[in-house]
Subunit: 230 residues, 2 copies
DNA sequence: TCGCATCTGTGAACAGCCTCACACGTTGGC
DNA sequence: GCCAACGTGTGAGGCTGTTCACAGATGCGA
């Protein structure tokens, strides 16, 4: 089982959705929830599955992506510790709208539909928090639509790379080189482009001295230059 | 002024968000809300504006779109009678994320931030309804990301055309020809393509007998064939 | 250790879509 | 009635990105 319910509480509190809850409330959720473990690469759920639970990332990282009929996929977003996902299918009772995959080993809190709805009824203020979470999600997705419609591949890659760098290096010196651990194929799926095209742009940037390319990761040397492209 | 507060009530009831409310509650909203009129082509708000109100379409149609730096735009969605928009900026207190434009003469109910929040506190069940509205919005936007990433222009045009036909011809015979009133330029903005490219695909379809092109509108003769392309 | 999978690098050929440039008909205002 | 604005039709040319076909490097498991 999980180490202690204290640490579980702490992780939940980090989530925007649960910060307001008292210990008793959190314990009430935990009583009805289960902790699921997923190894790197595991699929957590697939588009089209019935969605009768919501999940919170306790540890690890979860990729939310949409599959195409011919085997490709776009990454819609990546969830990290404290993030909550799977609420859409849960709230409106329809199928899951996307795939969820563990990109590294994960521990998830699985909250069943019934207990979440019960909680929301008991604590209406949580509804507002959930609304805000959804609003942020909507903003992000809208931005993704704009980017796909307006920006070329180079600009999209630059933008994503910068975002990844910011997420990874929280609290680090913003001037020094930042390493982003991601394969070029995965980067392609994040920006909606092919692996080869991504590689070609990265090569350009390498020649310009903006980045250094390593196996499985990219080191940003000149973040300003990248920002000018996005 | 508006004809009678009875008809206002009726329109509001049609919205997914307000169906549950009793007359007294609706009147309470109306007491704090105002009715705004916008002529065809008017901009209702712009991306970046402070968002301290939510709107419900009483009459007309509102286009939600994102502008690009070089003057182009993508249409994110089109709101019709009973739909509610502008909640995002309102709920999380940030700027408006998109432009809103009246595509025909409109009457909107404008609900200020304070009264909506007050209402949500008084009627927590409304929160759930709002959540469901947002979930639908998210589903739509996610689908738009998928379409932009996976489908070529022809498929996107076909898909949008079918959706417009379904929206227009609610309750009509699904077999007969359906007319969609939209300019080719507007269609281009809906699918994220140029006016010229849209025209070329439409010409193809005309030659194949799938559609008939008229000035300012398109008549679908073979919906099945279009569906097979999307 | 061998083989297979994964990641990166690269060039050629091709397709899709955009931009530009132009032509025509209709509509509405002056 | 004339002109401007708008909607449509069409071709040439060019850029971007994809697909395909390889090739080398690394790492992992049987």
């Amino acid at each position: 089982m999980y180490g202690s319910s204290l640490s579980l509480r702490q992780v939940l509190r980090r989530s925007r959705l649960f910060t307001r809850l008292g210990d008793s409330e959190i314990d009430a959720i935990l009583a009805h929830a289960t902790v699921a473990r997923h190894a790197e690469g595991d699929q957590i759920f697939a588009k089209g599955d019935p969605g009768n639970s919501m999940m919170a990332v306790l540890k690890g990282r979860v990729m939310i992506s949409a599959p195409s009929p011919d085997g490709r996929q776009v990454v819609l977003t990546v969830m990290r510790e404290g993030d909550v996902f799977g609420e859409i299918a849960l709230l409106d009772g329809n199928e899951r709208t996307a795939d969820a995959t563990a990109t590294i080993d994960c521990e998830l809190l699985v909250v069943p539909r019934r207990s979440l709805l019960a909680l929301l009824e008991r604590r209406p203020d949580l509804c507002l928090d959930l609304l805000i979470v959804l609003c942020e999600r909507l903003r992000r997705t809208n931005e993704q639509v704009e980017d796909l419609a307006f920006l070329d591949l180079e600009a999209r890659i630059a933008k994503v790379l910068i975002r990844l760098a910011e997420e990874n290096g929280e609290g680090q010196s913003p001037t020094g080189p930042v390493g982003v651990k991601i394969s070029q194929r995965a980067l392609g799926e994040l920006v909606g482009g092919s692996r080869e095209s991504v590689n070609k742009h990265l090569q350009d940037w390498k020649r310009s001295g903006f980045i250094v390319i390593e196996k499985g990761s990219i080191v940003i040397r000149d973040l300003e230059a990248l920002a000018a492209l996005g």
